[in-house]
Symmetry: none
Subunit: 416 residues, 2 copies
Amino acid sequence: MVAELISVGTELLMGNIVNTNARYLAQQCAMLGLSMYHQTVVGDNEERMAEAVRTALGRSDVVILSGGLGPTEDDLTREVCAGVMDMPLEEDAHCRERIEAYFKNADIKKITDNNWKQAMVPRGARVLDNHNGTAPGLIMEKNGKTAVLLPGPPEELIPMFKEQVFPYLQQIQPEKIVSRMVKICGVGESKVESELLDLIDAQTNPTIATYAKVGEVHLRITARVKDDDEAVRLIKPVVKEIRRRFGNAVYAVREEETLEAVVVHLLAKYGLTLTTAESCTGGLLAGRIVDVPGASEVFREGFITYSNKAKRKYLDVNKATLKKYGAVSKETAREMATGGVFATDADTCVAVTGIAGPDGGTEEKPVGLVYISCYMKDHVVVEKHQFSGTRDKIRQQAVVKGLDLLRRCILDNYGK
Amino acid sequence: MVAELISVGTELLMGNIVNTNARYLAQQCAMLGLSMYHQTVVGDNEERMAEAVRTALGRSDVVILSGGLGPTEDDLTREVCAGVMDMPLEEDAHCRERIEAYFKNADIKKITDNNWKQAMVPRGARVLDNHNGTAPGLIMEKNGKTAVLLPGPPEELIPMFKEQVFPYLQQIQPEKIVSRMVKICGVGESKVESELLDLIDAQTNPTIATYAKVGEVHLRITARVKDDDEAVRLIKPVVKEIRRRFGNAVYAVREEETLEAVVVHLLAKYGLTLTTAESCTGGLLAGRIVDVPGASEVFREGFITYSNKAKRKYLDVNKATLKKYGAVSKETAREMATGGVFATDADTCVAVTGIAGPDGGTEEKPVGLVYISCYMKDHVVVEKHQFSGTRDKIRQQAVVKGLDLLRRCILDNYGK
């Protein structure tokens, strides 16, 4: 079966945003075993959009459209698809109720009239409830062709696709594709790839694809199978072999497991509580921890000590240490982690101090220099990193390395 | 003049990479005043690529292709364009020399045969030297249409475009496009649009487009002009009118100004220092502040007080308050902001406490309920919000509202 994408939006044509939706949807279609030969971007123009939809429906079985479902005048995707597929729009009571409920929940009294067009549904279409916005998605089937209409914001599109469209496509696509994600932290992409070259070259089913993330490498193992038993039989030995080669650097073997979730679960498993002491990351590491539902079990408080004074006051970092070695140093990182544990009743503390730039770098301590430390069981591990990239990228990398250091410390101290 | 993009590459169709080239090229075309109505992605397939090139040349003046110029067998862009535009390929001595030089410079002795296909140039085409790789770019002109062929890797494409294609396009495109971004916080998209409907409907030059962001709405005002004077004359009154209608909700009138940067600059302007007291956002608000280069001038420390105990210990929140009203309450939010200021030497404190979910909600205090407070000049403002969406989206919205509350408090207390 052949799928294709149409992304609707002037922001894409103007280059205001990157088309991350297309990437996500293409990846999902690949996982589902759907072939894809075309992706198109069109603006909010009735004639051109209709032409694009007609062309796509002519050559592909499933056309996935994103964007242009909102309440404003130039949101036309629903209207255009209804026209091209000859499925006239009718107001849907369920959709109207959901829009009312959405605004009520958001405590907005006056609903502007333009919102009601989002309750219009092509006759015979299936409605996809939107749990994160007002515009519902739609599945329209006619003459053996399917159009899937999704809202543009990724935080609405992704959950809707995952929960409602993926199972639908899985059902209409006879071949089964099963994939497993192996996530690795602390090894670079080219190293991962060269260490797996024999596996990557030799295999046709399953296949192995590598994806570089900030500070991480993800490996997707994908198999075309007839049932779940075959999936396990094909995929399991590959995962085992990757684990054998990379050991503890493999932190997850499931798509939905994030690094922060693995850390929180490890802390909970061993009954440990965590505190954080952040300088250049300014709260982002704690923010990632708190991102995990139930983080309160292991995390109660954290410090953002951006100034030297704050480092002394809350973490009891020595004035002499700061003077002699500077705020960005192995010694300060060590005292920050220790101080965090002693200032609280936490069992462990991760500390981060570095130079995120763009200013503040010197020849001796260049932008991107970051010390990360972890106090655990009366012992502090400090790691020195030299990151590159923008201020934002340096801070993101520091967060990942901080989470990973904590993970490895738990495994070293408590694992097995 | 109308431009369009064709991105060539199976990685894009498989969702292995995000199409950042399309974004870059679209942005550049917009800056050049070229209209763009279509972007297409095709794979390395001769027939489908030829069809895409024919369609694009049929409807647009300039077609910019990226990818598929390399040495391997499935790199077909050069051959396909030569075929469609009937400009037969001939070996180019200059290109051959440059490829030799490139390998010599990279200290590679043996040049594999397939590299020489990169020296083949369509008769009459203009060669674009590649300073960062082996594949040269090409400009092919015929019958008033232009095809620009660029290598796929961004580190080759971007410098080639900047140095050689931009000036070329500037020369063939007489009109100029200037745009200005107005950023609004605290008003929903549909409300913004309905309040601007008369302006949006009435105007053709400049045009106004709205973009919904998490907790924000951005408006792009775009004018086609002959010079900078005309740009100012056309755009300025529109910006002024938007400001008049939305007042302080307009927080920036420049694309590059973020909400956190505006807040940091306001704090610096009035000589104020900030501390933060975060519960459900767990450091994300401070993280956004620290994202601004030079934030250390106004931000020295912040608290992540996830547990009740931490709220009492660091922020001196009353035990009785927590017991009577709960951690997620107006009263606790008020004491958190006050406590933050008294625990530090900061002039102001933003505090956030809420229920991010997915668990922990009750009928009385549902998931998404967030109290945000700001202490300034012996006075605390507390705002109650009911957000919807995922845990992540609720927290992101809380951060935006927290930054915006701080911004408004500064303007109310110190502005004018």
